[in-house]
């Protein structure tokens, strides 16, 4: 019995040694993942402690679910959660179909050169940083001399202070997010569309189908696998309402509509150093996101499409 175990162990070890050079290549990257991805995962346990920076991790006492109870019972968190959902869902509602629709149209462009130029240009906002984009937005929607308000006044309206208005802040957020992502978002869909058999279109045209009908009945069903996968990925990120963008554009006046879980975690955790409470919020969000993406993947498989795994 012991001999068998020793043999197994020796065999495994020899196997490892056979690939020692591969392991040498593997090691630095692996170490990186362990240090920068897995050790922080262990750090989520401070959500269950009353973490004190001075006492350190070991000395801080365990408090079980107290942080979560405090979090949920407090006045704030419900609103943050609601804001997160609202903003995310709005972004999904507009931002998910938009690249698909745009891709449908780009796919119909006849002139190849025009098509290429169009694509190059519309990818641009994706590669510009949020700092720059937020700066541009701030300048453009400025109630004093921003050109958006200039246009509004030109057409007879009154200037609107978009970024300080609880009514307009979220629309600006959603619109600018769609703006930034719509071009780049078409890449995956266009690639899928280029794989559709052109004979299908010809046959449809012979049957008298209009462009719209062709798009609806041929193109979209053909790329439905890609749509599903992108949908799953989007659902997985539903509780990420766009932290950097919001952080750059928001201010205390619009907190009631703009403060999301991540910005709350940032203010409470990093700025106020209330680590445990903030981490509880963050953990809550991460776990829900994980559950969502697993569910979405299962759902996709049930409907016959391939999931992500």
């Amino acid at each position: 019995m012991v001999n068998k175990m020793v043999d197994k162990y020796l065999a495994a070890w020899t196997n490892v040694l056979k690939h020692k050079y591969l392991y040498i290549l593997l090691l630095p990257g692996l170490l990186y993942f362990i240090i920068f991805k897995y050790i922080p995962m262990w750090g989520v346990s401070i959500a269950f402690k009353d973490f004190n920076m001075f006492r350190g991790y070991m000395e801080s006492p365990w408090v079980g679910l107290d942080n979560f109870t405090n979090l949920f019972q407090g006045m704030d968190f419900g609103q943050k959660f609601l804001n997160t959902l609202v903003i995310s869902l709005l972004k999904l509602l507009f931002g998910f179909p938009a690249p698909i629709i745009l891709a449908l149209f780009i796919n119909e462009l006849r002139n190849l050169k025009f098509k290429k130029i169009t694509q190059t240009i519309i990818y641009l906002p994706h590669f510009v940083s949020w700092v720059v984009l937020a700066g541009i937005i701030t300048l453009f929607v400025n109630p004093g001399d921003g050109i958006i308000n200039h246009l509004i006044v030109f057409f007879g309206g009154k200037p609107v202070d978009f970024l300080n208005s609880t009514t307009w802040f979220v629309p600006v957020l959603v619109l600018s997010d769609v703006y930034k992502g719509i071009g780049w978002g078409t890449v995956v869909y266009l690639a899928a569309m280029s794989g559709v058999d052109p004979h299908l279109y010809e046959a449809a045209k012979m049957d008298g189908a209009t462009k719209m009908q062709q798009m609806w009945k041929i193109t979209i069903p053909s790329i439905q696998g890609v749509i599903v996968i992108m949908g799953i990925l989007s659902l997985g990120g539903i509780l990420n309402a766009g932290f950097e963008q919001i952080l750059l554009l928001y201010n205390p006046i619009v907190y009631p509509v703009a403060d999301v879980i991540d910005t709350y975690v940032y203010r409470k955790g990093i700025i106020d150093a209330n680590y445990s409470l903030a981490q509880a919020a963050d953990l809550f969000k991460s776990v829900i996101a994980l559950v969502l993406i697993i569910l979405a993947n299962k759902l996709a498989k049930k409907f016959g499409d391939d999931g992500i795994w």
Binding site: G29, L30, G43, L109, G135, E202, I229, G269
Partner: protein, 297 residues
């Protein structure tokens, strides 16, 4: 019959094409104009710029704004830091990811599934902002440029893209090298890498753009303003009024050739210029990368 099919264009199709092209032109306009506006505005003598409205050309070409911004020590240090971080991070990141991806592209390696799952899981769950913040402290990297480079250097996403590429490489080349007695390391370095220029360039570009555009790392990990990335400097610039700006080391001239607005605009242009210049030429690499990545192995 076939020829007739492809050249005949119905009235409906004609209309559709006109609408389509118009939509595209509109989209291109709204993507390009904001930057155009800013460039023109910042190149204008601010006396005229103050009247607002649309800008298609500079109103009285004036370089003063750029002279001021380019002399600002915060902008300069931000630029230096960003370049340093981007270059180091991209080189190290590409190398490390390639090594990892190559090693794990060999199905025969013991632990193949385990390590793959280990890496994949990081795409689903993570520690979050606060544990990362603490990790940097524990590693003594707080307020150190390394904190801008290390987090985010290797990502699961990039790993899978690279690995897909390596798996697709023909076995034959490596086999013949192995028969000739070359070690795995030599094979990696002298055969695989030179063949992988495309994917290395793609991942490199993704990393480079990510690093260049990163501002939050500076906010989170860096306290000294002279170690901030350019984006962080820009962010602060935008959030300030002109009186606070003189604290940041910008001299507002007495004449109205320059205003706080034009300074912000010039800073924006300087910050995003590298991307704007480089990107059109390298666009195909980005597109290829995304496509390879979405056909996940």
């Amino acid at each position: 019959m076939k020829q007739a099919m492809s050249t005949k264009e119905t009235m409906g199709e004609r209309v559709f094409n006109i609408i389509n092209v118009s939509i595209m032109l509109f989209m291109m306009f709204i993507m390009v104009y904001p930057f155009w506006h800013i460039v023109m505005f910042s190149l204008s003598d601010q006396k005229f710029a103050a009247t607002g409205g649309f800008f298609f050309w500079p109103r009285s070409l004036n370089w003063s704004t750029y002279e001021i911004v380019l002399a600002n020590k915060n902008i300069l240090s931000g630029f230096k830091i960003s370049v340093l971080v981007t270059v180091c991070g991209t080189l190290a990141g590409v190398l490390l990811t390639a090594m990892l991806a190559y090693a794990l592209s060999k199905k025969s390696i013991p632990g193949y599934t385990f390590f793959t799952l280990l890496i994949f899981f990081t795409m689903l769950f993570g520690g979050g902002m606060i544990p990362s913040f603490m990790l940097i402290h524990y590693l003594n990297l707080f307020n150190h440029v390394g904190a801008l480079i290390l987090p985010g250097m290797v990502s699961a996403w990039n790993f899978f893209i690279m690995r897909n590429f390596f798996t697709a490489l023909p076995e034959g080349l490596e086999e013949s090298a192995r028969i000739d007695g070359a070690s795995e390391l030599r094979i990696f370095w002298q055969i695989v890498l030179p063949l992988s220029k495309a994917v290395l360039a793609t991942i490199g570009l993704f990393l480079a753009v990510g690093y260049w555009n990163d501002f939050f790392s500076s906010v989170l990990y860096i306290v000294d303003k002279d170690k901030w990335s350019l984006q962080a400097v820009l962010r602060q610039l935008i959030g300030q009024t002109s009186s606070a700006m003189s604290q940041a080391g910008v001299d507002i001239q007495a004449d109205v050739q320059v205003t706080s607005q034009s300074i912000i605009m010039a800073s924006i242009i300087i910050t995003t210029l590298p991307i704007l210049c480089v990107y059109p030429f390298l666009q195909k690499y980005f597109v290829k990368g995304v496509l390879v990545g979405s056909v996940k192995g």
